[in-house]
Amino acid sequence: MSAAAIPVEQIKTITMSIYRFDPTLDKKPYMQDLVIAIPTDKDIMVLDALHLAKEQEPSLSYRRSCREGVCGSDGMNINGKNGLACVTPLSEVLKRGKITLRPMPGLPVVRDLIVDMKQFFDQLEKVKPYLITKSDNPDIERMQTPEDREELDGLYECILCGCCSTSCPSFWWNPDKFLGPAALLQSWRFIADTRDEATEERLDDLEDAFSLYRCHGIMNCVSVCPKGLNPTEAISNIRNKLLTREKN
């Protein structure tokens, strides 16, 4: 949507208070208030509002791609809570005509609303987020019952937006040692897959004081996940698996 496309009689203004920082220009970050015109005849998403703000202030930087909540680009901190800008209706977050946007917390800021996600992806890679099989592949697909496949529901849908891990205090304190909810959800996604043949190896990798056990079950991850997934449950499933393994 373009600002020019909104008929004059259907305009109201809102204030977007946005975290700004370009390391090449700014000594330190600051909050910039941008007053933008939005349509009154329909609700728009926070991402649409950002586009309108960017028309006014082209240097404003944020990531975006699919604009429908499936690519995971535009995770950000909206009025203090992490979420995806593209599937957050403005009406739900507008408070007295104002909305505050900051980058996701806990990761270094590259510029404005863009964070450096290296730490996040490094942790993901540690869980070997791919199917490991040792037996030979059949000529057709590997068989899996619908019930076994259902075990992956609530796990495979993760979009790697980072909303969960960057709202997790344990990840803030130990982003290099605690794998964080997103990576652990993926870990469980492969342990839970009946086709995977590396469960023991995966569990071995998690058996230290930090990787998994730094989760204290406060469930911030669950409360912010834009896909309604439950990393805390996945983490407790892995714990159970580790515990029962020790008993044997």
């Binding site: 373009s2 020019a4 496309a5 370009d22 390391p23 090449t24 220009l25 329909k42 960017k54 028309e55 082209p58 240097s59 930087s61 944020y62 990531r63 975006r64 791609s65 699919c66 604009r67 429908e68 909540g69 499936v70 690519c71 995971g72 680009s73 599937v87 209706p89 590259v110 510029r111 404005d112 863009i114 450096d116 996600m117 992806f121 890679e125 070997k128 987020p129 791919y130 199917l131 099989t133 592949n137 000529d139 057709i140 697909e141 590997r142 068989m143 899996q144 019952t145 619908p146 076994d148 496949r149 992956l152 495979y156 849908e157 979009i159 790697l160 492969f190 897959d193 086709r195 995977d196």
Partner: protein, 597 residues
């Protein structure tokens, strides 16, 4: 060297790879996987983190005769459907290759871990999709689209990313490729690219360059496409003097959510959903008595547009159609179509298990693209003769191999990108084994590829990107949509011609080197404009109606003159014709017939 300086080839650092893949979507990552597994030094250059690529938005599935739902299914029937769907300008050798190699490519994905939905027997779940038939159109509706619920693209893209991690592919994530480097022997010898985060810029040199940059749906104002779909590969190819083929052929998906443009999978109709006009009539029964709501997309989109034009649209402005799913019951809707449920609630405020979804035909897919052979090698046309461009490959939506012709069948895009991403990878792997020399580029060659970037950096005045983009998108939407007409198209072409200068000399106010999205959007805008202009000129030139190209002033298909590919070069802005391949290797060619559903 930073991207915001005026850059001289002599100062530019160089990186070298055996193969580079521009684009980290399905086609790119299938190609890179092949190369990385064969031990070649491979890099994927992706302007977004790979799982943010637009493949992620594909929903309904990947069409392939894997004989799960129907043990008697036959890839030749799939081939027949695809040829018919293409309105007979799909290349039959390529379609034969895609349909027959497809099962291998799909089983490989499953072996990599793609979480397909399953049948009671434990096999991959398949659903019916539009334009599918058994027994060469004589056996009724087929059930051929392999699905992971309605998140097949997401599952496929993530699986390929995972497999590439396992294979040790080098990822240059959030790097932007500016232009191809072409040497004086007309060989492609890599690209100019910069790291978006820091602005560090390089000449990335390679023996093989694969364009896998996806589509360009953002030339229209209403599209299902991601914001990143800016036709970067098409822009790069046209500027380097390569042609595009059948670029006038744009698919309008019947069911984009009204107002938002987000996609609602054809799988909804595959699962039993149907379309209704304001009178509650299942109007597709009138337009396609046999296939009804599962006719080809071009047919359904036109029928919907006609219903709306003739005043039978739904809603206060009679400007959309209803897609009804509630009769399927919440069990089917929530289990088979969970993503659609989520999208409908978010973008239309309706729960499809209870209320119909308001939908309109929405720009969805670019059937045309850079012409290639089945090995992914880019073809240029010289005096009517095909000529392979050395060092350059294309696969996926950016390519036109051509398996979709005038109209793509649902579920064939995911198949296209894995089959031909794989084919390009296999071919490059094999030729590297035979030995390919690293070719060089002169400073002059490299400077040429830096031209537009330097111009943008030097800009001190000019039009803003957003203004130019809105203007172009409105123009394309109004004059090159579902129905086309000569006089309107000419008006549109003239407007584009007037804008061309402004696009070439846009103003980039923000010159920062750090994650400068304004610079990216400016470079993308120039790519979009190349696609828009090519589309407009070629659409006006094809004086017939075929597949997705429907002209009010030339309503009939004209096989005498236009059973041909269109070929367009941006240097001359001229359109020529290229023969369609009617030489499959193992079956008899399917000859043009009247296309009815």
């Amino acid at each position: 060297m930073l991207v915001n300086e005026i850059i001289n080839a002599r100062d530019l650092p160089v990186m070298e790879f055996d193969g580079i893949i521009v684009g980290g979507g399905g086609a790119g990552m299938r190609a890179s996987l092949q190369l990385a597994e064969s031990g070649l030094n491979t890099a994927v250059i992706s302007k977004v983190f790979p799982t943010r690529s637009h493949t992620v938005s594909a929903q309904g599935g990947i069409t392939c005769a894997i004989q799960s739902d129907d043990p008697d299914d036959d890839w030749r029937w799939h081939m027949f459907d695809t040829v018919k769907g293409s309105d007979y300008i799909g290349d039959q050798e390529a379609i034969e290759y895609m349909c027959s190699e497809g099962p291998k490519a799909v089983f490989e994905l499953e072996h990599m871990g793609l979480p397909f939905s399953r049948t009671e027997e434990g096999r991959i779940y398949q659903r019916p999709f539009g334009g599918q038939s058994k027994d060469y159109g004589k056996g009724g509706q087929a059930t051929r689209t392999c699905a992971a619920a309605d998140r097949t693209g997401h599952s496929l893209l993530h699986t390929l990313y995972q497999a590439n991690l396992k294979a040790g592919t080098n990822f240059l994530n959030e790097w932007f490729a500016v232009d191809l480097v072409l040497n004086t022997d007309d060989a492609v010898v890599g690209v100019i690219a910069f790291k978006i985060e820091t602005g560090e810029i390089y000449y990335i040199k390679s023996k093989a360059t694969v364009l896998a940059t996806g589509g360009a749906g953002r030339i229209y104002s209403s599209t299902t496409n991601a914001l990143i779909n800016s036709g970067d590969g098409i822009g790069m190819a046209l500027r380097a003097g390569m042609p595009v083929q059948d670029i006038e052929m744009w698919q309008f998906h019947p069911t984009g959510i009204h107002g938002a443009g987000t996609l609602v999978t054809e799988g909804c109709r595959g699962e039993g959903g149907y379309l209704l006009n304001k009178d509650g009539e299942r109007f597709m029964e009138r337009y396609a008595p046999n296939a009804k709501d599962l006719a080809s997309r071009d047919v359904v989109a036109r029928s919907m547009a006609l219903e709306i034009l003739e005043g039978r649209g739904c809603g206060p402005n009679a400007d959309h159609i209803f897609l009804r799913l509630d009769h399927l019951g919440p069990e089917v809707v929530h289990k088979r179509l969970p993503g659609i449920t989520e999208l409908s609630k978010t973008f239309a405020g309706v729960d499809p298990a209870v209320q119909p979804i308001p939908v309109v035909p929405t720009c969805h897919y670019m059937m045309g693209g850079i012409p290639t052979n089945i090995n992914g090698q880019v073809i240029s046309v010289d005096n009517g003769e095909d000529k392979v461009v050395e060092g350059l490959f294309a696969a996926g939506e950016v390519a036109c191999v051509s398996v979709h012709g005038g109209n793509r069948l649902g579920g064939n895009s995911l198949l296209d990108l894995v089959v031909f991403g794989r084919a390009a990878g296999l071919f490059i792997e094999e030729s590297m084994k035979q030995g390919v020399d690293m070719k060089n580029a002169s400073y002059d060659d490299i400077d040429k590829a830096l031209t537009r970037l330097n111009k943008l950096n030097a800009s001190t005045e000019g039009e803003q990107v957003a203004v130019l983009k809105n203007k172009m998108q409105q123009n394309m939407q109004n004059n090159f949509g579902v129905f086309r007409r000569g006089d309107l198209m000419e008006k549109g072409i003239e407007e584009l011609a007037q804008t061309r200068g402004e696009v070439d000399s846009m103003f980039l106010k923000d010159k920062s080197a750090t994650f400068n999205t304004a610079r990216i959007e400016a470079l993308e805008m120039q790519n979009l404009f190349e696609v828009a202009e090519a589309t407009a000129i070629t659409a006006n030139e094809r004086k017939e109606s075929r597949g997705a190209h429907a002209r009010d002033d030339h309503p009939e298909r004209d096989d005498d003159n236009w059973l041909k590919h269109s070929i367009y070069y941006s240097e001359t802005k001229e359109v020529s014709k290229r023969d369609v391949n009617y030489r499959p290797k193992t079956v008899q060619a399917f000859q043009p017939m009247v296309r009815s559903y």
